[in-house]
């Protein structure tokens, strides 16, 4: 909504500077999105008359002139040839600037010498003034131009103004009008609101003067109105002016509209637009003679009806619109003439041959207008206002105001009276306010008189006051009942009135009170801490935290998920048409983002939610989740941890054999092992998948007892290529909800070992298929006495080891908590283990 400072001042007096107005509106809840000063152009340029023109003493092509600029004569050197003494011209005075050309600095005129002769200003060409006139030389002004008059005034662009672009919140349709804004200003300044004159359109006492020729017609002789659907159109008013001369609008009218961005059309259309901006009530003017009467009838009838399903209508923008039964039309007996509340029709618009005008001022159901406007993708100033809800009480006044302006700008005769089809007039709402509640909610102590005063300034009328019982405490309820003006559609209950009090009192004046009160509680609170803990561990392990898009492409989702992907019904694009079923596609995108920008060493993790349509309900996990995120919905939400590594394992170093090493599956596994242990998960096992998959070249699932926690492995080379990766990538994903449910983060102290350990190393050759886990299993079953730990410290193949075999070297540490062990007893225990290894996994011990 655009308003101007000067326009507002027509309705209310205030002495604020443009900046203060901006501030006050903002603090009332009317956000000022833009402020533009207009006018002020051509400053320092005046109408002047050439008194004499002589040749310049030192230059043939220049002339030396005396010029009268109203306050005196000046000497001007000029190069133009198209003028003579007596001509009136635009003179720019020293210190003033020419209007800047786009993209360049304004040019400022100084007193200076031209070929040795002083020039005290410059006479201007239209090009220099930025005017379109095609003249070679100076702009010669009309003879009646007043000497000394500011040039802007001569052009009719006089006066500066300030245009404000205001953001009106949807609950305040009454503010989509100049009068609405002015009313707010009046309320805080306490000055009265000044409504414009509508007397010319008001019934007159017989014989009164100055109100145009008396009409010989009553409007009801000329037209009738029939509302077929009063729910969609509860009120419709019509006035008729005959004998109007359609012409361009006077400067003040077209100028005012143009300042707020509305194109001037002609006096009648401009008058309706002006009144719409002034009152917030959209109006429509019809060419009365284009309205047809039914056969056999003398006067036309306006019918407000629903469109027939599939009915077409040509709106005045020339578009043929196909309508459904929900659209509301204004029609006569033979055709439709306007799409109600949205746009008029070509067949009845005001044109140069129009002489009689019918003014429509009606109220249309907001939801219906919104639906029609949306369906047709046709938004107009009118539909915008109707769909937000206009003031049903103002229809007639706005109609009179428009009639008044049309009579003023186009002449004509107003038919007597008005049609006002308003079958069930809206009763103004009444709302009771308990003054104590103002204090309860705002925390400020206001006198009841003050509160009522604020509300009266907003035109809320006190209609009832429950008398306070004699001797009662003031805290007893003693509500005041207010009648709510029809333009305040947002005031529905007591709290809405309290908000008005807060606005007028000034939110900035309400004192802030320090935080106080109850301690909160929510089961998620500890989950948040667990998240933080997981992040702390992972970043300590050298991983950077990533945040991926929730919305990804279905193709990417298919890489990691089957048919349970959750799709959007209204995606923005096919790149973002499903909810991520896994964090991995996002992490792969992030790897690509880095690698494509030549950042090759990337180690990322992400904690986030994934979404799946549950295939079979009730997996064993769901019940165990702490504060499970999905409650009720058909979509499963699960928190996950994803990790992705690619490129060099360590920052660049300038020496050492391992310096070029790239991340591999063991790096990833090491990170997961450390993370899981630090997070409180022990007894994790890894189970290799026998086959490659679309996602993984090699992978393993991660288990805790019977629960599968996730998967890790090396990305398939085809995918790595697809994601433009340079080096191999290793990725993992774990179910974080399950990790949180299964973790044991309790800690207890174990005494530090007091006795020395004894270590025995054993190297053995094993078949390739024998896993480390199988070896550990044998050791565990052998239950050697006093075994403290087993550590694998070497694996190698080749050289002396036969093909299909590998050598594994383990260190066994024995220690007792009670005493120093002897070699003899350690040897006995150790040999038992070695024997078991030989038997159970065919270990051949290397000497």
């Amino acid at each position: 909504m655009k308003v101007t400072l000067n326009w507002l001042k027509q309705y209310v007096d205030f002495e604020w500077s443009p900046e203060v107005l901006s501030e006050r509106l903002t603090m009332l809840g009317i956000e000022v999105e833009g402020v533009r000063k207009i006018g002020g152009e051509f400053e320092g340029i005046v109408v002047a008359q050439v008194v004499s023109r002589d040749k310049h003493p030192n230059a043939d092509k220049l002339s030396l002139c005396r010029v009268n600029e109203g306050k005196g004569e000046r000497q001007i050197v000029c190069g133009a040839q198209n003028f003579k003494a007596g001509d009136k011209v635009a003179l720019i005075l020293p210190g003033a600037s020419l209007p800047p050309k786009p993209g360049s600095e304004p040019f400022t005129i100084k007193v200076g010498k031209i070929r040795g002769v002083e020039s005290q200003g410059m006479m201007c060409s239209p090009q220099e003034l930025g005017l379109p006139d095609q003249v070679d030389g100076l702009l010669i002004l009309r003879e009646d131009a007043r000497i000394g008059q500011p040039f802007a005034e001569y052009l009719g662009r006089s006066g500066t103004d300030v245009v404000y672009d205001l953001e009106i919140t949807p609950n305040r349709p009454d503010l989509n009008s100049l009068i609405g804004i002015a009313r707010e200003i009046a309320a805080i300044t306490g000055t009265p609101l000044r409504l414009p004159d509508v007397t010319r359109a008001t019934p007159q006492a017989p014989g009164s003067k100055d109100h145009g020729p008396a009409s010989t017609h009553s409007v009801s002789d000329l037209v009738s109105v029939h509302l077929e659907d009063p729910e969609l159109c509860p009120r419709y008013t019509a006035r008729i002016i005959t004998g109007v001369k359609i012409a361009p609008s006077p400067g003040w009218l077209s100028g005012t509209l143009e300042k707020v961005g509305i194109r001037s059309i002609n006096n009648v259309v401009d008058a309706t637009n002006y009144v719409m901006l002034e009152t917030g009530q959209p109006l429509h003017a019809f060419d009365f003679h284009r309205l047809n009467a039914a056969p056999g009838q003398s006067c036309p009838s306006i019918v407000v009806r629903r469109a027939a399903e599939g009915e077409t209508f040509r709106t005045l923008d020339g578009q043929e619109r196909k309508l459904s039964n929900s659209a509301l039309l204004i029609a006569d007996e033979t055709k439709s003439v306007a799409l109600a509340g949205v746009m008029g029709g070509q067949n009845s618009e005001i044109n140069l041959s129009t002489v009689d005008v019918l003014i429509e001022s009606a109220y249309f159901n907001p939801q219906n207008i919104r639906a029609t406007s949306k369906k047709l993708e046709l938004r107009t100033e009118s539909s915008y206002r109707f769909e937000r809800g206009v003031d049903i009480g103002i229809c007639d006044w706005a109609s009179r105001r428009a009639a008044h302006l049309i009579l003023e700008t186009g002449g004509g005769v107003l038919a007597d009276g008005a049609i006002d089809a308003y079958p069930s007039p809206t009763e103004p709402k009444q709302i009771a306010l308990r003054h104590q509640k103002v204090k309860d909610l705002l925390g400020i102590d206001l006198q009841p008189e003050q509160i009522d005063g604020y509300l009266s300034q907003l035109e809320l009328k006190v209609v009832g006051r429950k008398p306070r019982p004699v001797g009662a405490e003031s805290s007893l309820p003693e509500p005041t009942t207010f009648r709510i003006p029809t333009f305040r559609v947002n005031l529905k209950r007591e709290v809405d009135l309290i908000e008005e009090v807060a606005r007028l009192y000034g939110v900035d004046r309400i004192p802030a009170t320090p935080p106080r009160g109850a301690i909160g509680s929510n089961p998620f609170d500890s989950v948040h801490d667990q998240y933080a803990e997981a992040r702390r561990i992972l970043s300590g392990l050298g991983l950077f935290e990533a945040q991926g898009q929730t919305l990804i492409s279905e193709a990417a989702a298919r890489l990691v998920s089957g048919d349970n992907v959750v799709a959007l019904a209204n995606p923005l694009s096919s790149d973002m048409n499903v909810l991520r079923p896994s964090l991995l596609p996002g992490l792969l995108d992030s790897l690509r983002n880095n690698v494509s920008r030549k950042v090759y060493d990337v180690a990322l993790f992400e904690l986030g939610r994934v979404f799946n349509r549950p295939a079979g309900q009730g997996t064993s996990v769901a019940a165990a989740q702490p504060a499970a995120c999905a409650s009720g919905g058909a979509t499963g939400e699960e928190r996950r941890l994803g990790v992705a590594l690619t490129g060099p394992r360590a920052p660049v170093f300038w020496s050492g054999g391992e310096r070029d090493a790239k991340f591999d599956s063991y790096d990833l596994k090491g990170i997961l092992e450390e993370f899981l242990e630090q997070f409180g998960l022990r007894g994790i096992t890894y189970s290799r998948r026998p086959e490659s998959s679309a996602l993984f070249l090699e992978s393993a699932t991660i288990h805790l007892g019977k629960f599968q926690l996730g998967e890790l492995g090396q990305l398939s080379p085809a995918l790595a290529r697809q994601y433009d990766l340079r080096d191999a990538a290793v990725v993992a994903e774990l179910n974080l909800d399950m990790l949180m449910a299964r973790r044991n983060s309790s800690k207890s102290f174990r005494p530090l070992a007091a006795f020395p350990p004894i270590r025995r190393d054993v190297a053995m050759v094993l078949p390739e298929a024998t896993t480390h886990e199988a070896v550990l299993q044998v050791v565990k079953q052998a239950k050697p006495a006093n075994l403290e730990s087993v550590e694998l410290f070497d694996v190698f193949r080749g050289k002396s080891v036969a093909a299909g075999q590998k050598s594994m070297a383990y260190g066994f540490t024995y220690r007792s908590a009670e005493r120093t062990l002897t070699d003899t007893e350690v040897n006995a225990a150790h040999e038992k283990v070695v024997e078991q290894l030989k038997q159970k996994v065919q270990a051949v011990i290397r000497e």
Partner: protein, 340 residues
């Protein structure tokens, strides 16, 4: 006798000189053997001690012992010197060379900001709450008093999930704000309530420098007896001073949200906003919980009052760090992540 003791001083001097002259540990060992070894010169001198008359022995013994102790001390000192010399690498360490770095990962800037916000709220008794991101219209709109034909519900602005066959599944949507969690929490627990809700939200905006279909919000909700606008202002001021620095100023402007009444927008002003050329910068929306919302969740608005506020985490991060493109948060470019 005199001749015998006269040899002590020169022998000692020679030995000390040899110790000092030794260039390395083997050289020092040779020098030790020469004087203090079992066939060494000084050892030989000590052996002569036994040939002296009994009354001369104590004095001579004392002289020789003192010299021997002195030699042994000098030997030990020289050994420490030479050991240190031997330990030095062939080439001296260049301490200007880059070290072998061990990388510490970093938390995403959005996480860091969220943690700062959560920390400030926890100081004043708030706990963190959470809810699903796939919501229904009831929790996201209806219960929050959003009119049935409000534009926010449009398929233009809100993502709806596809049901079987790809058609819109009318009730399942991606939450457009964390305010839906207000409803879930209030429906589940009785007042008082004091929660803060950080989380992902979704709006159907094409990605550009200031929009991403996914972004993060934080919601705060406080419900108790006698909660006022003054309390709301006090808490907001506390939190934003914690977040944006103690010199931060806060301004409340009346505004409109369907689920609060009165409603306000919050502007803040600090060195940061002035650096951006603005005195005030919009940062959050807030208000007193609408009585209709209380009625929807079964709280009596005559007994309970409360406030809620919410703001975008990306916006805070962008202002605080001077980040000019929201998409950077979701690209995870390490050159970006390393900076925070």
């Amino acid at each position: 006798m005199a001749g015998f003791l006269d040899e002590v001083a020169p022998l000692k001097a020679t030995a000390l000189a040899e110790f000092q002259a030794a260039a390395d540990l083997p050289g020092l060992e040779q020098a030790r053997v020469n004087s203090l070894g079992s066939h060494g010169r000084f050892t030989a001198l000590m052996k002569q001690l036994g040939t002296l008359p009994k009354d001369e022995k104590p004095a001579a013994g004392k002289t020789i012992n003192a010299a021997k102790l002195e030699l042994e001390a000098a030997l030990a000192a020289r050994r420490v010197e030479l050991e240190l010399k031997a330990a030095l690498p062939k080439e001296p360490t260049d301490f200007t060379l880059p070290g072998r770095r061990r990388l510490l990962g970093k938390l995403h800037p959005l996480t860091q900001i969220t943690e700062d916000i959560v920390r400030s709220f926890r100081k004043i008794g708030f706990v963190v709450a959470d809810g699903p991101e796939v919501e229904d219209e009831y929790h996201c709109f209806d219960a929050l008093n959003t009119p049935a034909d409000h534009p926010a519900r449009d398929a233009q602005d809100t993502f709806y999930l596809a049901g079987p066959g790809g058609a819109r599944q009318s009730s399942s949507l991606l939450r457009t704000h964390t305010s839906s969690v207000q409803i879930r929490v209030m429906k589940k627990q009785s007042p008082p309530v004091r929660i803060i809700v950080p989380g992902r939200v979704y709006r159907r905006d094409n990605a550009d420098a200031t929009h991403n279909p996914t972004f993060h919000q934080v919601e705060g909700l406080y419900v108790d007896r006698n909660v006022t606008v003054g309390d709301l202002k006090g808490t907001v001021e506390f939190v934003f001073k914690e977040l944006m620095g103690p010199e931060t100023r806060i301004r409340f402007r009346p505004h409109y949200f369907s689920y609060t009444e009165p409603s306000f927008e919050i502007d803040f002003s600090s060195a940061l906003t002035r650096k951006m050329g603005k005195e005030w910068l919009e940062i959050a929306g807030c208000g007193m919980v609408h009585p209709q919302v209380f009625e929807n969740v079964g709280y009596d608005p005559e007994t309970w009052s409360g406030w809620a506020f919410g703001f975008g985490i990306e916006r805070i991060a962008m202002i605080r760090y001077g980040i000019n493109d929201i998409r950077l948060f979701y690209e995870n470019d390490l050159r970006f992540l390393r900076q925070f």
